[in-house]
Subunit: 622 residues, 2 copies
């Protein structure tokens, strides 16, 4: 089939055997690529109750169908696995050049299974798969590891995904670094890699993606680039990534502060990108992601002072808020330093920030003592404590061993689960948009397939008054409106699954498919694949993937009771720009279930599953 490499590479670490498989065209038709195909493989191959750290868990890497084609923003891949943080479905989308080069090597997906006895690196060079001893880089941080591995491999145009010390030590919030400074941030995919004694994967290839109607596809690419470059929505991201969002979200009372306690904190503005720009911290660097006209990934340095940091990836909005305002820390240099450390250890900045802010609150409330923390006094806003705790998490030392388990397990171990300030959904720490400020996020966090997830959040646009016409939400809304939020969350989640099956960057996708106008995507897919595809088909694929993710989670024991927000997020702020506002999440979830065709227990009905061609799941669910 045109537009696809047509093959999956399966690599077994236990016996160091690799094999190729052909993708069933029916699977492509139903799941498109990327997160869709990877989710299908996970559902089929990782049975109920698999220990995420066992050899039976798998890591499935899958670029989208547009990845590597030159289509703008077609740069992403998903790594899908069973999360050691949440125990449910995990998909982490990332970018760089890895997905593109995996396709250049000839594969639409890569399944890693089993477990190696010794530290190993998988090197893929077209169809050649080598297992390289990784003992010499085991223990090195991500930046050093990347440098050593590239030196060792002695060839150009290599992409890597690899873990730092945190992943090696099974820190449950560990991620992988992709090329230079992109990450598979959330949910612990790096820990799964570490549990397999896998340091990383390097890949290079020489193959090309065959395009059905080249001239026409090139025209779609040109249009796509044009739409992105002229989009009013994406312009701020071109200038300085997501860092400007601090001031913008500040204006809506959306920047989580002091472990989601405050609706307003003037000092959070000190973390804004404009402040970094004013200090000339941003540096021009080559693009980090294939075929991206936005280039939101920025680089920064802190030339001197206590938080000196060499040139490296700049913190993004989520990091600035998680390790900044949410810990009541407005020292931007310290956040750059924290970000640098998290990057090097390979840990998720959001989960790390939310877990540290939890500890700060526990300390303030007298629920934990300095003694328990090895003498550390985690006072709100103490940047040095934040940095110290990050080091302990990354190295799994002292209290860091516990904090690296994520906020849910930390609260449980400390007997503080019932206190209501461990801010997570299904074990996934809540990211940096507050549902009290943007109501759509409430039901979205509560029901997202990997736990609280902001990347399933184009519903944010709905909260800002943009009708999601093509997604069946024709009315405009406002952020504090209680209507149609469930509908918007469904649309946003399905849209994200579409975008991640296409392999698109969400910022690019939003520009091209202005707020869900996937007809543009259909128009691009047709000349690429030679297959006729309608917008309706595309939305159905998105919905199918959402339901399959749900089915995986239901099989792991998730119930409607898990679809809820931490109580704190339903307590109105007494100050700030979202003061007194609370989304009626229970009602929105009801609406969401109905829109999804799920029963009141949150289980897809037989009718829904049949409609989506998922009737084969029925025996597992009903």
């Amino acid at each position: 089939m045109k537009g696809y490499m047509g093959k999956i590479l399966r690599v077994n670490l236990s016996n160091q055997v690799s094999s190729e498989e052909t993708i069933d065209p029916q699977i492509i038709k139903q799941y498109l690529g990327g997160v869709g195909i990877a989710t299908k493989i996970l559902y089929d191959e990782v049975p109920q109750n698999t220990d995420p750290f066992s050899a039976d868990n798998k890591l499935i890497f899958a670029p989208g169908v547009l990845t590597g084609t030159g289509y703008p923003g077609g740069t992403r891949f998903n790594v899908v696995t069973k999360s050691p943080l949440t125990g449910i479905w995990l998909g982490s989308s990332s970018a760089g050049f890895f997905g593109t080069r995996l396709r250049m090597a000839g594969y639409d997906a890569l399944i890693i299974e089993g477990s190696s006895k010794k530290p190993v690196l998988i090197d893929i060079q077209d169809e050649k798969v080598d297992f390289i001893d990784a003992s010499s880089v085991w223990g090195l941080d991500t930046f050093e590891s990347k440098e050593q591995i590239e030196k060792k491999l002695e060839r150009k145009n290599i992409s890597t995904v690899l873990i730092g010390p945190a992943g090696e030590k099974r820190v449950r919030t560990a991620c992988m670094m992709v090329d230079m400074g992109r990450f598979t941030g959330r949910g612990g995919s790096g820990a799964v890699m570490g549990s397999k004694n896998l340091k990383g994967i390097s890949v290079s290839g020489t193959k090309k993606i065959e395009v059905a109607r080249n001239k026409e596809f090139k025209e779609r690419i040109r249009e796509g680039v044009d739409a992105i470059n002229t989009s009013i929505a994406v312009y701020p991201y071109k200038i300085m990534g997501t860092t400007l969002a601090i001031s913008r979200e500040f204006e809506s009372g959306d920047v989580p502060t002091k472990n989601f306690q405050l609706g307003m904190w003037e000092q959070s503005k000190d973390l804004d990108g404009m402040k970094m720009a004013a200090k000339s911290y941003f540096k021009e660097m080559p693009p980090t992601c294939f075929a991206c006209p936005v280039r939101c990934s920025k680089f920064t340095e802190v030339p001197d002072g206590p938080y000196k940091v060499n040139l490296g990836p700049a913190p993004q909005y989520e990091t600035l808020a998680a390790l900044g305002s949410n810990c009541l820390n407005n020292n931007v240099e310290s956040v750059i330093k924290s970000n640098d450390l998290c990057s090097r250890y390979g840990i998720d900045t959001i989960s790390t920030g939310v877990t540290i802010s939890f500890i700060m609150e526990a300390y303030e409330r007298g629920h934990i003592t300095s003694e328990q923390l090895g003498g550390i006094e985690p006072i709100w806003g103490n940047a040095d404590v934040i940095i110290e705790l990050i080091k302990m998490i990354g190295e799994r030392k002292g209290i860091g061993e516990l904090l690296g388990e994520g906020v849910k397990r930390t609260a449980e171990k400390l007997g503080l689960s019932d206190k209501g300030y461990a801010i997570h959904v299904k074990g996934m720490e809540v990211p940096m948009h507050d549902p009290r400020s943007l109501f759509s996020f409430g039901v979205n966090y509560a029901t997202s397939s990997r736990g609280a997830c902001h990347l399933r959040g184009p519903s944010m646009l709905f909260d800002q008054g943009i009708a999601m016409i093509d997604a069946g939400v024709p009315n405009r809304s406002t952020r504090f409106n209680q209507k149609e939020k469930g509908l918007a969350a469904k649309a946003a989640q399905d849209a994200s699954n579409i975008i991640e099956s296409l392999g698109l960057c969400i910022f690019c996708a939003i520009s091209v498919a202005m707020f869900g106008m996937f007809s543009k995507m259909a128009e691009a897919l047709e000349p690429l694949t030679g297959e006729y595809v309608t917008v309706k088909d595309i939305w159905e694929i998105g919905e199918r993937i959402s339901n399959l993710q749900r089915a995986f989670n239901l099989r792991e024991g998730i119930t409607a009771e898990d679809d809820h927000l931490p109580s704190r997020l339903l307590e109105p702020f007494s100050e700030g720009l979202a003061k007194g506002q609370v989304p009626n999440v229970a009602v929105h979830i009801k609406e969401y279930y109905q829109a999804r065709g799920w029963d009141p227990k949150g289980i897809p009905t037989e009718k829904t599953l049949t409609r989506l061609g998922l009737d084969w799941i029925i025996p597992n669910l009903h």
Copy 2:
């Protein structure tokens, strides 16, 4: 009537008599305020064939109904007159605090008529109107004049509109400066003021706008502020005004270059706001406009070098393009200097830039000699020549006397009208968006009531894929799509008339009324005025104003033949991101006429006029 002061102040300069008139509530109902009411007065009081520079021409200042109420962006007023540049209807919208203070003094509109024998300043202090001898400030530039006048008046909280030397000398592109650094930019309102020997107007007041339902209106204000502060559309303007638009428009091939000849010029990026920010040119200053959360008006300085400029208003996008790229000049410091000079002389930067670029092209083509220009050699991109020509225009010296007449008259006088490179519509120089890049602008420029006008341009959003649902353009579009552009232009023009009757800043209006959602405006007007108003009413008012403006222009002899673009704007670019693209403007105009209910000659039909309650105009038109 609540929400209005209910009175108009009429000031006759010939006999120095002022009088108060009550506004007919029927007029308010039909025209809302601002540009609407002012247009009605102009139509009624300035008869056919009035010489714009005669005592019979009038200057009608009118704040909108939301101006001064505290509603966010409710800060603007219109000055409406017969333009000396185009000979047709002119409305120039501006901001600052003038409109607010005129209302505080007790007036919804101010009519200036007659002509003074000697230079005079009108000082309004509540109902007290003084005629102050302005001989001492006649000849001073705008900044100096403002300083002197404020010193002389010895009271606080004064707003001023005043002219510089250009207006005094009847330069046809002269504008007024409003407070510090806002301007009534286009069409020569400053020259009309100068022709009346009026240096300016100062106003202060102590009255309050009575609100029908205060609590409810305050709630609408809060919602409006919130919508603006959280809007994705406006965020870049908050950061650094419109200066960032250079890079953005560059990506669409939209930045006019070399007198609209080139579709792409890499160096235009040197003019971008980010470049200015990198040099720390922007300075924090108090807000320039009443009740505005956006604060797009920025201040800048050039601390040293040949183009040293003291702290003052920064050039906006239109100026950066008009005096920069369109003259093939990428020296941003020189544009800051040029902007400073234009501000001080009080001349429109767009018209000035387009006229200078015309001269540069004429010189290159050998259509004008250095001798004719008093020895000046206007070579493309020569910043010093641009500055020299601005001085000559501002002082009405040498060739400047001709150039200050605008590009249409300049071309006529030089016998170059038929060469096709005097870029204007109806005598108004084309602003800095190219219809070959954004198709909606083609028909919009061709039909706008004051000649080529970008401020009647929310159609730009339509070109960028945003459906104008509430305006009856439900489908999304792309910039190179030939469909529904006439419809979009009509909607955009009506929307602009609504916004300027409300007295809103367009950036604020776009955020609150996300892309034309005027239901928010209806919701705000109701508690303000106590009158029930529907969205349909509001759109009808916008349409009524558009038709009355057209009627004024038809009476002055405008015909369908004047509704056309300069031929150059219909020649496809051979390079850049709008390469090969041309809007089918003739077809779009046809569609526009039909949508407006105008006959093929561009005349509103009796049916249309009757529908809009404008049947009293029928005898004049038919």
